[in-house]
Symmetry: C2
Subunit: 459 residues, 2 copies
């Protein structure tokens, strides 16, 4: 079980990419910006992007209205996204039937990071970008983060910079390009293209953009609320450059068994969803400022007015989803004969196109459980609480600030050294090589699991 | 570009499986049945499975009715499947908007083949099974071919034999287990689990079942209407044991480019579907015996009475879909520096969960085009017609006889030796190693493409 054989993918261009990424992750000197310059640039960008976000009543939204009859919240253009109701029947988990609001954004957008060599060291073009839902305004985002409406300029606004790098890449320049889901509890079948594309010296960093080494991005991933969700999910789709990921032997379960587990969880369970009118959604109440759960659980739909100096459109208003409470997403990591494995949980979420994806070991909002006996807690939540002091990663990160207001979660990675948690039908230890392959295809790892994989690679 | 390096998957159990499959595909002696015994068994089973299928008016269907209001065709139990209407908006292809009937069967069934060693040679447990829509009654099917309603015995009937091999396989016994789509023009988001599972000597062939070597299955694949669709799709999910498939180098396009092409085709196009009532489906007419297209195109919905001696239920009636005309599904194969590639086309079909899958080079019903000038034909159809005399595979095969009546297509494989057809955004040459990997994940190759890959491996 020695991780010495090169993986199949490691030939030609990909082998060179992996080697170069490893250098970029290790290099201290040779960056375009020194770490000091990077910190100053971030501070400078934060000052240069004043953004005012103000809560308003729904009646104060410009262009948005509750549709007659259904009560669905829609934009007058029919674009952007809508909020309607969803009726869910599920044989997965303790509640078999419920209704909830859901964000419906059927268009597939592009989340792309451009990669360029400087002195043979790959650098990633990161963008300082403000979003109305971010707790701190500006975070580090991918080179391009655009809905199809954005990039086709359906709603006006300026052209999306660097878009052509992703829509018309040079032959052989695509490093990763895969459709990945986003939060299945909040979005109905939302997918975005996650892309990494090599570019040449003709691509330069514009204002609000900077070339960072993988090491620098990794450093920022260890700070609260600096690297945004879109950047984290794209980074997870980079081929894994670390030695663990090239360990051909050493996976606890054969690859076919891991794929079979995912297939079985999808096939054996029924999760059926039907769109309903937002006005007809049982258990949810409307007032002039919010649509919220009658017992204050889950999340609310709210409205904000935004004035920004740095966006395609300078001022607008929009709905946002505001989760109640801070989430936790925790990943157990363990070495099996020297090869690192992560404990993933097969999760069903109502909005997943494929019903089930692999999520973190634990993912929940702790305050929903704190008044309940521990026997009612999600599996391993108490173990996460007990071991959190020894976590190797524990950072507060935000979900997408263009749709979610103050949506923060503690992302936690805990190394399990001694006894291993038992697997059950819902849990499997998956090696990092297996994770790397699963991430080349759509809908295998949830967006929270992808953030944790990006975080794990940063250590 | 020499195919000498073993692929990543070829370690441990999988390497042994590949080697054993190669032996099973090459072995002439050593089978459980000689070829003569196999032919006699097939003939004997055909005689032992008398089946009467008679067209009846919809009013003669027992348990099925057109629902008040919508006109949807449904079973009284709510089970099996239903036929309703679908409104389609598509920016893919010449027609941007249409309505059609579609078969809705949301349950995921199991299509499984058991594999057992006899004298070290893997044998596949194949079933002689009659279906009402088969032109010739009985065909060779997988060990298990069961909807969830079947195997949960929702509608009565006898227990599904061998089901436990697939629902509770031994640890490490799963060779393949993947959700794959079926015809996206006829089914709405239909998926079945395609499984191959190793079993031990405790599993014996019951009446109507026989253990065949891979070579024997390959031999039967060259005969018209012997191996059914369900068997063909499961066989395509076997890991590819041939030398081409282990060629690590030699793919015309890097793997990342092929994945990117699939992602781009899914992301850049909009195919939106909305269920509508069958009675409201524009362009389709109802009479006592059929629901059919007003100009006689596409297919009809019809009803049959069935009496069978060999099914879970001895007599029943059901609707079937009857396509108009015989289809053609053709695959171009070409060696690039000695490594075989197939020309796949990215196809959008209204019923695909993921909008686009890779299909054959050409897939159509020729008589829909024969009165039109060649410039209106699908790309490469004329080339298929011109070169068909030299085809290396040209066999008439049926689609699933439990849902489709007399649905036959000519499956054709043509080797392109000289000049290669040009690629365009819709077409790519994909190596057999790349095909093998794509088939380990869901929704990459359509059911017609999977039949052609199985056929290609049989040569």
């Amino acid at each position: 079980m020695t991780p010495t054989i090169a993986p199949a993918a490691s030939y030609g261009e990909e082998a060179r990419t992996l080697a170069a990424l490893a250098v970029s992750a290790a290099t201290v000197d040779g960056g375009v910006l020194s770490d000091g310059e990077l910190a100053a640039w971030l501070e400078d960008r934060r000052r240069a992007q004043p953004q005012q976000v103000e809560r308003v009543p729904f009646a104060g939204l410009s262009g948005w209205r509750f549709e007659e009859g259904t009560g669905d919240l829609r934009h007058a253009s029919g674009g952007f996204f809508s909020v309607h109701g969803l009726r869910v029947h599920s044989d997965f988990g303790p509640v078999s039937e419920w209704e909830q609001p859901i964000v419906d954004q059927p268009e597939i957008g592009i989340l792309g990071i451009a990669m360029r060599d400087f002195g043979g060291i790959p650098h990633l073009l990161m963008q300082a970008k403000s979003e109305p839902g971010n707790v701190n305004g500006m975070q580090l985002s991918p080179t391009v983060q655009a809905t199809k409406s954005n990039y086709r300029r359906v709603h006006g606004g300026s052209a999306v910079r660097y878009l052509d790098c992703f829509r018309s890449p040079e032959p052989g320049a695509v490093v990763a390009d895969v459709l990945q889901s986003e939060q299945g509890s909040w979005f109905l079948r939302k997918r975005n293209r996650n892309m990494i594309v090599r570019v040449g010296p003709e691509v330069e960093a514009a204002e609000d953009f900077a070339w960072l080494t993988v090491r620098q991005v990794n450093m920022l991933l260890k700070q609260d609320n600096v690297v945004n969700m879109d950047a984290r999910t794209v980074l997870s789709c980079l081929p894994d450059w670390r030695a663990d990921a090239s360990a051909l032997a050493g996976s606890l379960h054969p690859d076919a068994e891991i794929r079979s587990w995912i297939t079985r969880r999808r096939a054996e369970h029924d999760v059926r969803v039907a769109p309903i009118g937002l006005a007809d959604t049982q258990g949810w109440q409307h007032d002039p400022h919010t649509v919220s759960h009658v017992r204050g659980h889950h999340f609310s739909v709210v409205a904000v007015d935004v004035v920004s100096g740095r966006r395609e459109v300078a001022a607008w208003s929009q709905p946002l989803i505001e989760p109640h409470g801070t989430g936790i997403a925790a990943l157990f990591v363990r070495r099996v004969d020297g090869v690192r494995h992560v404990l993933l949980r097969a999760r069903a979420e109502a909005g997943f196109l494929t019903v089930v994806e692999l999520g973190p070991t634990v993912q929940c909002t702790v305050q929903n459980y704190s008044h309940l006996p521990r026997t009612s807690w999600p599996p391993y939540l108490d173990e996460v609480q007990n071991r959190r002091g020894g976590a190797v990663y524990d950072v507060l990160l935000s979900e997408e600030g263009g749709r979610f207001l103050n949506a923060q979660s503690h992302y936690v990675i805990i190394e399990i050294e001694d006894e291993a948690p038992l697997e059950s039908e819902e849990f499997r230890w998956v090696s990092l090589r297996q994770v790397d392959e699963l991430l080349r295809y759509s809908h295998n790892l949830s967006v929270q699991a992808r953030t944790l994989i990006t975080a794990l690679r940063s250590l």
